[in-house]
């Protein structure tokens, strides 16, 4: 909707008001311009107490020499308002001073109304573009605020990134892309000997994705206490997410329970990438599993539990697609081959060191190309049979 340009005119001659109303009658009728009039600085102040204006037209004699301060003051209070001064020929020095202190344009007295019309028209255009610029700036700052909120939200839902307890050494990390995505990891002790680990990736970006991630993470953790089987847990998380999901967002996730007494991990998959297994002296492999389906899409999905037994000193890695799909400047992907090679080379390293080497390798490959997706990893080294001493 086009809004009219609001103009305040300051002149002590009463004729001026009639003259403006007469000369601008078409624009007033068409609601292009809306005029207010004042005959003193005090009246101007009163007007500003009630409303703001786009253009301030002032007779230089009324504003006077102290009017220079007056105009300069108004300009500071209303940075988007444009000021036009009306001046007689003889006042060239005052005019110069007024222009220096912030007036934007001037009209010479006796007023040539075509000139005034032109000047007002020109100023209106400037006002319009300034308003547009302000609106754009506001929009941009709202977007960056949103990014900031989602970045904070995303960080706030992650637990710490190191666990060292008995047979388990865990390191998790996430490197968010420029636009915040919806990756998250989680881990929680279900009992003295059982540790739950989760890796997930929400489709989409920013606040909506971060909120969906928060809901999914909370559901998985809560349901993990109710359902001992990862597949049962995901089945119920999925039903709950589907019921609430109007946005067609979804989350791919892998959930495993490490049993430190049985030396095994029971895991289930919801459309996520397979767990990597790294054993020194062997080629890294990816644990076979039923893909299940991403959570939040389709209610009637059955998930399947799989079990894998640990070898001593074995490392497992959960990750998101930000790892294999990291791209170089030509768009080529990091891919599983490079991924597997780095894992093989660092099979004996600690989870922290292995993760750092992996990130370093991805960075080298990307060669400065912007990171388009979050890169999230959760790495567990399984050492011995010792029961953890964590409650």
């Amino acid at each position: 909707m086009a809004t009219s340009t609001k103009i305040l005119v300051l002149d002590d001659e009463k004729d001026t008001e009639d003259l403006f109303l007469q000369k601008f009658r078409h624009q007033i009728t068409e609601e292009a311009y809306e005029f207010a009039f004042a005959t003193s600085q005090e009246e101007v102040q009163k007007h500003f107490e009630i409303e703001t204006f786009d253009i301030f037209i002032s007779d230089i004699n009324v504003a006077g020499m102290d009017g220079i301060n007056f105009i300069s003051q108004l300009r500071k209070s209303y940075p988007l308002m444009r000021t036009i001064v009306i001046s007689a020929y003889g006042d060239i020095n005052t005019l110069r001073a007024v222009m220096r202190c912030g007036a934007h344009d001037f009209v010479i007295k006796p007023i040539d109304f075509n000139d005034l019309l032109d000047t007002v028209r020109k100023t209106t255009k400037i006002v319009a573009s300034m308003k547009q610029m302000e609106a754009t700036t506001k929009k941009l700052s709202a977007i960056s605020d949103e990014l900031d909120v989602s970045a904070k939200l995303q960080r706030s839902i992650l637990p710490g990134n190191i666990v060292k307890s008995g047979s388990i050494e865990l390191f998790a990390d996430t490197i968010p892309a420029a636009e915040v995505g919806g990756d998250f990891y989680d881990y929680f002790w279900l009992s003295e000997r059982k540790l739950g680990i989760v890796m997930a990736d929400v489709s989409g970006k920013n606040v909506s994705a971060a909120m969906f991630a928060t809901i999914a993470k909370t559901l998985i953790k809560s349901f993990s206490r109710i359902y001992a089987s990862p597949a049962e847990c995901f089945k119920n998380v999925n039903i709950t997410l589907c019921a609430e999901n109007v946005t067609t967002m979804f989350v791919t996730a892998m959930y495993g329970i490490i049993d430190t007494e049985k030396n095994e991990i029971t895991y289930t998959n919801a459309g996520h990438l397979p767990i990597a297994v790294i054993i020194s002296g062997q080629d890294p492999c990816f644990l076979e599993c039923d893909p299940g389906m991403a959570l939040g899409i389709f209610e009637e999905v059955e998930f399947i539990d799989h079990t894998h037994c640990f070898s001593p000193g074995e490392t497992i890695l959960m990750y998101t697609d930000g790892v294999p799909e990291a791209a170089d400047p030509d768009g080529a992907e990091y891919d599983f081959e490079r991924f597997a090679a780095v894992l093989a080379k660092n099979a004996k390293a600690s989870p922290n060191a292995l993760t750092q080497e992996l990130i370093k390798s991805i960075r080298q490959f990307a060669n400065g190309a912007p990171q388009s997706d979050d890169i999230t990893t959760l790495c567990v080294k399984y050492r011995t049979r010792i029961t953890p001493n964590v409650v």
């Binding site: 970006k205 979804f250 791919t252 459309g271 893909p291 389906m293 991403a294 389709f298 799909e325 388009s372």
Partner: protein, 110 residues
């Protein structure tokens, strides 16, 4: 990214070209949703895309839901192995109709 659209035997065939990722998913979404408003019989051909991210998968799912609600039909065709593996990995091959090519897809539109 570009999205081509053509009509064949009363079926709208949509062909996204290039990469469907977070930055281009909106273009893809607008194109398929507009097509679905005009015609309930839609085939998406994947032979001209290099990459589809989860944001792209979401668009396909949204379209699938929309067409299902309006008794329309969506069939995905001409899928290269790499793109198919993305659908399989996320489990979406179980709820979306995927055919080798247009001729195979035709009977599904009834």
């Amino acid at each position: 990214m570009e999205v081509k659209s053509a009509n064949d035997s009363g079926i709208t065939v949509i062909t996204p070209m290039g990469r469907v990722d977070t930055s281009t998913a909106k273009v893809f979404e607008d194109a398929v949703m507009a097509a679905a408003d005009a015609n309930g019989k839609i085939a998406i051909s994947f032979d001209s895309i290099d990459y589809i991210s989860s944001a792209g998968l979401r668009v396909v799912l949204m379209l699938g839901k929309k067409l299902k609600a309006s008794n329309g039909t969506l069939v995905l065709i001409n899928m290269p192995e790499k793109i198919f593996s993305v659908f399989k990995m996320s489990g979406f091959d179980k709820i979306l109709k995927i055919c080798a090519n247009f001729d195979e897809a035709k009977p599904l539109f009834g």
